[in-house]
Structure formats: structure tokens, C-alpha cells
């Protein structure tokens, strides 16, 4: 598989507090990567570094020339201005904006593409509603739709299951599986159960990064990452239940 993103010796921190240290990670075509780890372990920070929202202290992130401008981002639903008066259609349409066209009017193709993707995520009927009126699952789909209108090669999602119910989680999992046939998926999450049996790789992160292939995850690995006892429940789904946080 073609390597799309190559991260080498990456370090970053806030003020004097080093959050990520010496991170090496390769992300390739068709990968479905889960990034897990404790709060403050640097999961979201890694995502922001890949997206160029923040600059690393040291190290490098190299993109395959075919995808340098084709990263799709689905933020946590708490990261944007939920009180902003905007319809679902207009919100998804903002995904077409980039540095090269933000001074120009939307093209006819942008509008058609937005309508098509709203149909794809089953939100066409909601297109004229305020985003405030959407349920957690619908809002999540509208955010994914916004990132899809820019035709991404890699889709990066930050805690996509944080505020949605169980049936929406199942739908999200199925939808991401479909998308993974066409693009690389990177998910930062606490919720391993929602993505069970779907991912191709797991990266455990807590300042340092521990990459694993499918099926390599076990109690010892998780305890090392979380820094406290961890219990994996049965039925083939690795739950991360912390026995005690002491």
C-alpha cells in the first residue's frame, strides 16, 4: 500500500509541558487507524499536528504529494460554535472553502456536490434546518459530510462517538467502513467498542506512541499506555475498563 503520511521523531508540548515525544508513525492507503490513550495523552494533539493546526517542536510530517491538500477533518462536536445561525446545507457547503477559493463565490459544482453528499449521509431532508435542531448522530453525520465535500484522501475524526447514542454508533461504524473502501480513516477515540473489528491498526498514545497491528492489543499493552490496571472484557471486543485510577 502507498504510504500517505510519514511522521518522524515528532515532539510537541504546550509551554514547558511536553505532550508528545519522539513519535514515529506511518499511515498508508486504505488504513483504518485507531488512536487510543488516556486523557491528556496527546491523541487530539497528534491529530492537530497532522492537520497543521499547530506546529511541532521538532520532527517532521511528510505527506505524499497526491494528498497534501486532501485531509478531511471531523472535529469533536464541542469544538465549533453551535450557536452560529447556519443551516445544515450551508454548514456542509463551507467544506468546499479553501485557501484558493475563499474570495470567490461558490461554484455550481460545489452546490451539487453538497446536495449529493447530504443525500449520501441521509440528511437531505434536514438541509434547511438549523444545525442546533439536529440530534447528536445527525450532527456527527453533517460534520462528516462537510469534510467529504472536499474529496479527502484521508479522513481524520476526533472522538466521533462522544455524544451519540448506540444506534448512531452502529450507523457511524458501518458508514466509516464504506468510506474506508475509498479513503484512509484515522479515528481518535476512547470508545474501542464502537470500532471493534473494523480497524486495521491501533496506535496507543500516552506521550510516546506504541503502534500495533490488528489483534496485537492486550492487557499488558494497555496497562503500559494508561499507566494503571486495565481489564479487557470478553466477546472479542477489547473494552478498556480501568480497575482503579490510583
Amino acid at each position: 500500500m502507498k504510504k500517505l503520511i510519514e511522521i518522524k521523531a515528532l515532539s510537541f508540548g504546550y509551554r514547558d509541558n511536553r505532550v508528545l515525544e519522539d513519535i514515529d508513525l506511518d499511515i498508508s492507503e486504505q488504513d483504518y487507524l485507531l488512536v487510543i490513550g488516556p486523557n491528556g495523552g496527546g491523541k487530539t494533539t497528534l491529530l492537530k499536528l497532522i492537520l497543521g493546526i499547530i506546529e511541532p517542536w521538532s520532527g517532521s510530517i511528510t505527506f505524499n504529494k497526491d494528498i497534501s491538500n486532501r485531509l478531511g477533518y471531523v472535529p469533536q462536536s464541542s469544538n465549533f460554535n453551535k450557536n452560529f445561525p447556519i443551516t445544515v446545507f450551508n454548514m456542509v457547503l463551507t467544506g468546499c472553502i479553501n485557501s484558493g477559493n475563499f474570495l470567490k463565490r461558490y461554484r455550481k459544482e460545489d452546490i451539487e456536490k453538497t446536495e449529493k453528499i447530504l443525500e449520501q449521509v441521509n440528511l437531505y431532508d434536514k438541509r434547511n434546518e438549523n444545525i442546533n435542531n439536529l440530534s447528536g448522530g445527525q450532527l456527527q453525520r453533517s460534520l462528516i459530510a462537510r469534510s467529504l465535500v472536499s474529496d479527502p484522501a484521508v479522513l481524520l475524526l476526533d472522538e466521533p462517538t462522544a455524544s451519540i447514542d448506540i444506534s448512531s454508533k452502529v450507523n457511524l461504524k458501518d458508514f466509516l467502513n464504506q468510506l474506508n473502501e475509498k479513503m484512509t480513516i484515522v479515528v481518535v477515540t476512547h470508545d474501542l467498542t464502537a470500532f471493534a473489528r473494523t480497524y486495521t491498526h491501533i496506535a496507543c498514545i500516552n506521550k510516546n506512541l506504541y503502534p500495533h497491528g490488528k489483534g496485537e492489543l492486550n492487557t499488558q499493552v494497555l496497562e503500559k499506555v494508561y499507566g494503571c490496571p486495565v481489564e479487557l472484557l470478553g466477546h472479542g471486543i477489547p473494552h478498556t475498563i480501568l480497575k482503579n485510577h490510583g
Binding site: P85, L103, S150
Partner: protein, 278 residues
Amino acid sequence: MADMLNILSYEFIQNAILAGLLASIVCGLIGPFIVARQMVFISGGLSHTAFGGLGIAYWMGVNPLYGATAFVLLSAAGIGFLEKKTEKSDLFIGILWAVGMAIGIVFIHLTPGYAPDLMTFLFGNILTVPRSDIFIMSILVLFVTLSVLIFYKGLVSISFDEEYAKTRKLPVRFLHIGLLLLIGLAIITMIQVVGIILVIALLTIPVAIAEELSINFKRIMIISILLGIWICWSGLFISYYIEFPSGASIILMGSILLCLVKIIKKSIGFLQHTSHIS
């Protein structure tokens, strides 16, 4: 009716009508961004720094509007550059707010004689806006309007989701500082209509009403402009006929309208809810 037509023939009334119209256009174009980006405190700080420029210009014997413009734009740029370097930007804005006022007071004190015009700038008097200032206001409104039209997509993008705008490689910092400068120009346009102290109300009340009536950002802008015109003109005629202070009349008209819209909307919601239950 004849009385009304007679009033409209006065040049000071014509100027007041034009000033109200111009102020309403900028409040409708910029106000929605201030509310969406929660920049009300920054805008309040900027309007009060204008007083420092007014005081210095008055002491130097030049048009106070020039001094206010220079002070507000410098403050806007200063806030824009310092915001990223310090996490205590609201502390900086609060200091700027007070220092601007203090400078103004000191320079008025240093200027010999009474300064009646400065009361106009503090509390606004739409009936005393001279034709020369209408010309300056028109240029400011033209500049603000063109800037908002050109940068509309980028400004909406950073107002809704700044982080996402960064991932799309938009010049977020440029757009934010640009918006601060536009807020500064909007404040200058409105100072003579409602005054430094009440400017923030005219920037936010029409938007608060418009948000009750629409969920579309462009429509909110248009409704805010129309509401601004109604509020300014009704305040103007109340001020003329019953000799109330014009700035306060305008803001009170806006506040009454806001209360009415809220009450009507709540009542409709309540009636719909009860009919649904029954």
C-alpha cells in the same frame, strides 16, 4: 403629513436620516460577526478607546473623528497581534478600555474652555451630525461593505469553526485582525449616532432580534440592517418631537422591539405547544 414633510426639508434632519441609515448598514454587516464570535467585550473596549483619540484630536484642534479613527484602528490591530501572544487578552482589553477613557479625560482637561461636542461623542446626538461627517461616514460604510462582501466566505468560516478553517489553510489570523479593524470602522461610523457608551447596543440589539426571526446568516444581516434603520429613525423622531436624548431613544426603541419580539415568539411557541397537547 405636511408637518412631517416640513421637517424633512431641514438639513439637520436629512443628515440625521442619512447618519441613521449609514450606521444601520454597518451594524447589520458587522454586528452578526460580533455576536457569533462572542466579541462583544472586545467591541466595547474598542469603542471606549475612541475617547482617547477624540480627546487628543480636540486638544490639537482637528476633527475629533480623525483622532477616534486612529485610536480605534491602532487598538484593534494591537488586540489582534497581542491576542495570540497572551492568554490574558480580556485583561489587556479591559486596561485598554480604561486607559482610552483616561487619556480622553486628561486631554479634554488640558484643552481650554468647555467641550460640548465631546458629550455628543459620549452619548450620541444624531440631530447634530454635520454634512462633512456624513461624507466620512459614507466612505467608511462603502469600505466596510466591500470588505464584508469580498471576505464573506472566510469570515463566516472562521466565525463558525476557526479550527476547521485552519485545516482548510485559510488565513485565519489575517481574517480575524481584518474583522477587528472592520469593527473599529463600524464603531467610528456609529459614534455620532448613539455615542461611545451605547455603540455596542446598536451593534448587538438588531442582531439579537434578527436571530429570533431567521437561522440564515445572510438573512440575519439583511434583517439587522432593516431593523437598525427602523430603530435609528424612530429614535430620531422621538428625540425630535419629545426632546429626549437621541442616542438613548434609539437604544430604548431597539430594546423595546427586542422584548416585544421575544414575548410574541414565546407566546406563539406556548400556544403551539398547548394546541399540540390538547
